[in-house]
């Protein structure tokens, strides 16, 4: 679940525009269980594996999000160009990124269902940047998202850029997803203790 308001830090993974859900998690991998703790890891392994190699990890390319043989990525923040997450409604897409270790995305625009799934499922935070930053940030740069001041800081290049406030979804993001939000507002009964 996403953390409210704390700065988010980590290495950047940079992508171009129109990264669709088939590139985020190719359809052949949608068969794994998201609940089974072992099977779930496949999503981390295959996250962004559908991106053509030359466009994966810009500007150089040929950098996989998750290294061969691993199920978690060394990168934590995706920086992408327009229309991130277009394509299908599969929630496996933001889930796969979360399982790979992604905490947030910075893009000038998102496809609606991806955005909604990220927020309602509490997988990661989709921040909107004011400008397209995909050509200014390099894969591997150390980033910090300052949520209080709506800034993206590039610690490697010593630059900073404004990001947009979350707006009407902020309450759901900070609650950690639609269920937590609904519980706080009495729309869904408080959870019975889960016995697993």
């Amino acid at each position: 679940m996403t953390q409210a308001k704390k700065p988010i830090k980590g290495k950047a993974f940079v992508l171009g525009k129109n990264i669709d859900t088939d590139q985020i998690i190719p359809a052949a991998h949608l068969v794994y269980s998201l609940e089974d703790p072992e099977e779930r890891k496949f999503y981390g392994k295959y996250a962004l594996s559908g991106v053509p190699a030359a466009e994966s990890g810009l500007p150089k390319g040929n950098i996989p999000l998750t290294r061969e043989g691993m199920t978690e990525s060394e990168f934590a923040i995706i920086v992408a160009s327009d229309n991130f997450g277009c394509g299908s409604s599969r929630e496996h897409a933001p889930a796969a990124l979360e399982i790979a270790g992604i905490k947030a995305i910075i893009s000038p625009s998102y496809a609606r269902i991806f955005y909604r799934n990220s927020v309602d499922g509490g997988f990661l935070i989709p921040f909107e940047s004011v400008e397209d930053l995909s050509s200014r940030i390099n894969t591997g740069d150390e980033l910090e998202i300052d949520q209080e001041n709506h800034l993206l800081k590039n610690l490697s290049q010593n630059t900073e850029y404004p990001i947009k406030p979350l707006g009407s979804v902020a309450d759901i993001v900070h609650a950690g997803g639609i269920f937590e939000y609904a519980r706080q507002n009495g729309m869904v009964p408080k959870r019975k203790p889960v016995t697993e």
Partner: protein, 437 residues
């Protein structure tokens, strides 16, 4: 000031007199649809959040249609159908269209109308982005994720941000004989881009809309998502009513846009002047006229999916394939079992469509999504290497139909069939004019 059709439905379902674009409202859901890819995780979240023995909010309103990974030996895919089966039995769901039984249907977006679940004025959510197809029936329909679906299963409600509406006005009386709704939506997506309607409703209207059958309208609204749209919608009329009434007695209330409704933008198209279109690899907005890419080398043709696998799509293909042999590996996949039966009973010059396809040398698959989304390696028609395919489906992003190396041109069933016969991308006017003479 008036409201658009989309705004009115959302107002009606959130207990308000009016809503405006940008408002966040909680709506009551009339139908929730899910399938074999997103159903199992949605069910998992539902149980986790509401308890192992929780009941769904209204079993008459939950429809489960397995369709994506059906005819495969992939063990994980088959397990997903088992999860749906167990849930349907446990919850005693009347509307589960189980694989391997007579009730099996195939592609959910075509099955929903066939089974009478798409009704004017209603709100329908589905765990699939092409749920927007149902807007053809004058309802609000859109795709959601698993968490949202689980939320609806427990509460019957979901929050929606009221979208602005873009209006696409069709002028002209008749579609030219070589033109299909697919050409028109490819033109529109090419004009506005894959994010041209993001967060917005796309309303298809104008006098020309009367020229569109229900299946044609479904092709338009189906691809609203390829322009980023939240929903696509057509006002209900006698064509809608005739279809819906032939499928269900369920009551509904028709809703129309007010004459003084406010639109984000208006776009005019004269359907009589439009031409066959393709989307080149690797994006649905990478438009060209078929003429511009004529002669492009191909080695695969595919007719199927919720966009281009309806009965009228196969009738169109049969017009061209009749009496011809295909030069490409050509795959025919009816969207639903009802359409598959239609291939046997519908005729062209007295010959069943299925005979025409067999004679032409096509491979015919079982009703399902099949290679529209690639799927497991043994999926019928899947592009497994660097094929160049012309397809009546809706997406051509890298790897969508299987391999990242493959290239896909999206086109109408007429254009796909014409290209299958010649072996290169071919304008259907070559054949259609022949037929007329």
């Amino acid at each position: 000031m008036g409201m658009t059709l989309t705004e009115k439905i959302l107002a009606n379902h959130s207990g308000r007199d009016r809503v405006s674009p940008g408002d966040n409202v909680w709506v009551d859901v009339d139908v929730l649809m899910t399938h074999d890819v997103c159903g199992p995780p949605a069910i998992g979240i539902f149980k986790h959040q509401f308890g192992e023995d929780a009941r769904v909010w209204d079993k008459e309103k939950l429809v489960i249609i397995p369709d994506h990974y059906i005819f495969t030996t992939d063990k994980y895919a088959n397990r997903n159908v088992d999860i749906l089966r167990a849930f349907a039995a446990d919850q005693d769901l009347p509307y589960f269209y189980d694989v391997g039984t007579d009730s099996y249907k195939g592609v959910c977006h075509v099955a929903l109308p066939e089974e009478g679940f798409t009704r004017p004025g209603e709100v329908l959510f589905g765990t699939d982005s092409h749920t927007c197809t149902a807007g053809a029936f004058g309802q609000f329909a859109t795709g959601i994720g698993n968490t949202d679906a689980a939320f609806i299963m427990g509460t019957g409600k979901l929050w929606v941000k009221v979208p602005e509406t873009m209006r696409f006005v069709f002028e002209g009386k008749k579609l030219p004989p070589y033109l299909m709704a697919k050409d028109i939506i490819l033109q529109i997506i090419g004009d506005i881009g894959t994010d041209g309607a993001t967060y917005r409703a796309m309303e298809f209207a104008g006098p020309g809309i009367k020229a569109f059958t229900m299946e044609d309208r479904m092709t338009l609204t189906n691809m609203a998502i390829e322009a980023g749209g939240k929903n696509g919608v057509v006002e209900p009329d006698e064509i809608t009513e005739e279809y819906v009434r032939s499928r269900t007695n369920h009551p509904y209330t028709k809703v129309y846009s007010d004459p003084d409704a406010k639109y984000y933008s208006e776009h005019y198209y004269n359907i009589e002047e439009m031409v066959p279109m393709v989307a080149k690899p690797h994006s649905p907005d990478n438009k060209a006229t078929v003429e511009e890419v004529e002669g492009t080398w191909l080695n695969r043709a595919y007719i199927g999916s919720c966009t281009g696998g309806k009965l009228s799509d196969f009738k169109a293909a049969a017009e061209i394939l009749h009496g011809n042999k295909v030069k490409l590996d050509t795959y025919i996949v009816p969207a639903t079992t009802e359409i598959a039966r239609g291939l046997e009973t519908e005729t062209h010059f007295g010959i069943p469509l299925i005979e025409i396809f067999r004679e032409a040398g096509c491979s015919i698959g079982n009703a399902s999504c099949a290679a529209c989304l690639g799927g497991p390696a043994d999926t019928f028609g899947r592009l497994n290497s660097d094929e160049v395919c012309i397809s009546s489906t809706n997406r051509n992003y890298p790897g969508r139909m299987g391999s990242k190396q493959a290239q896909v041109y999206l086109a109408s069933p007429y254009s796909v069939a014409a290209s299958a016969v010649t072996g290169v991308i071919t304008d259907p006017r070559v054949f259609i004019q022949e037929t007329v003479i």
